[in-house]
Symmetry: C2
Subunit: 195 residues, 2 copies
């Protein structure tokens, strides 16, 4: 409608997020961020007066909201544990573009940014994810300790599979982890073939 050719806010943050994930925090220069968003540097500063750090923070907040809504809530919600895990798998596959896009939590935990501005959010996100995975494992009959172990282990497996996929140049490791998610989290409940 009678509007000037301005970029949508959600799309803007999404593009910034992709750039940070692909190139890392220091690797994502403002010139690059301007290019991928189609805006000029000054326009980016108009929307993010805090500069690059604010951009990364909003990307992180956005990811947290998306993950909470699309992954964590369904994971805790009603339904059979195996169905909930299957739903998570679909969303995770989308979130990581089938294994082609690195994890923001990995990328932003590098360098100075570690004990720096993002550490708290990263830790909170990981713990929220582990908590939700624990919950579904508990619903499947695990005791708390074992559930927590499986959850941590699955997150590690997921993050690691992204690293290995990138290193080997094939998304197969990522796919394998997604395929084995139910078995990994819920244990052997006669719902999977051997692997």
């Amino acid at each position: 409608m009678g509007r000037t050719a301005t970029i949508d806010e959600g799309e803007l943050v999404a593009r910034l997020g992709e750039a940070f994930r692909q190139f890392g925090y220091e690797g994502a220069t403002l010139t690059l961020l301007a290019k991928v968003t189609g805006l000029q540097k000054a326009s980016l500063y108009h929307r993010f007066p805090g500069g690059k750090e604010q951009m990364a923070r909003e990307v992180l907040d956005n990811a947290q909201a998306w993950i909470t809504a699309h992954i964590l809530d369904p994971l805790r919600g009603p339904g059979e544990p195996s169905a909930r895990v299957a739903a998570m798998v679909r969303q995770v596959d989308e979130f990581y573009r089938g294994g082609r896009l690195p994890c923001l939590l990995n990328v932003l935990a590098s360098g100075e940014s570690m004990q720096g501005p993002f550490a708290t959010d990263i830790k909170a996100m990981m713990e929220a994810w582990i908590g939700a995975l624990s919950a579904v494992a508990i619903d499947a009959g695990c005791d708390k300790r074992r559930a927590r172990g499986r959850a941590e282990r699955f997150i590690a497996l997921l993050e690691g599979s992204l690293v290995v996929s990138r290193g080997l140049g094939t998304v197969q490791p990522f796919r394998d982890v997604l395929k084995g998610a139910a078995l990994e989290l819920l244990g052997d409940q006669r719902s999977s073939r051997d692997s």
Copy 2:
């Protein structure tokens, strides 16, 4: 003895490696690299005419040599599979400083450097590691397909546990993966408690 106060070559590359692992390729500025080595920038360029990229490459080569000698060879060498895995675990623990130091393969696969100058070496190193792990699993009675799967899975678990350890601010996930390495790679051979 009658020598000027010049830094040892091995120590030099080791310090550079630590810096790259902690701060990433773009995060490790020449000013920082000069600081951690105790040399001036010009001195670094004297030893590495190719600049930062050459430094990273030599760090990578050095890591490859160390891993081959201390981890891969013993893994293939003689001895009981479980003893070989135990030996690997000790060396891996040292290599990653008990889980406190990120993996070079993860850190250098970021950004442009991905399809860039290090991709080939990173892939080769991962495949060498996976190959050696497969070998020990085969010696423990696995068929080839399953051995390869376990090896890939273990590398992912290891890489991911470093990411999670960094994110959560505790090396416990890394420790857990090392503790479960034998079970993970060799299967349940009545040599481990449940976990």
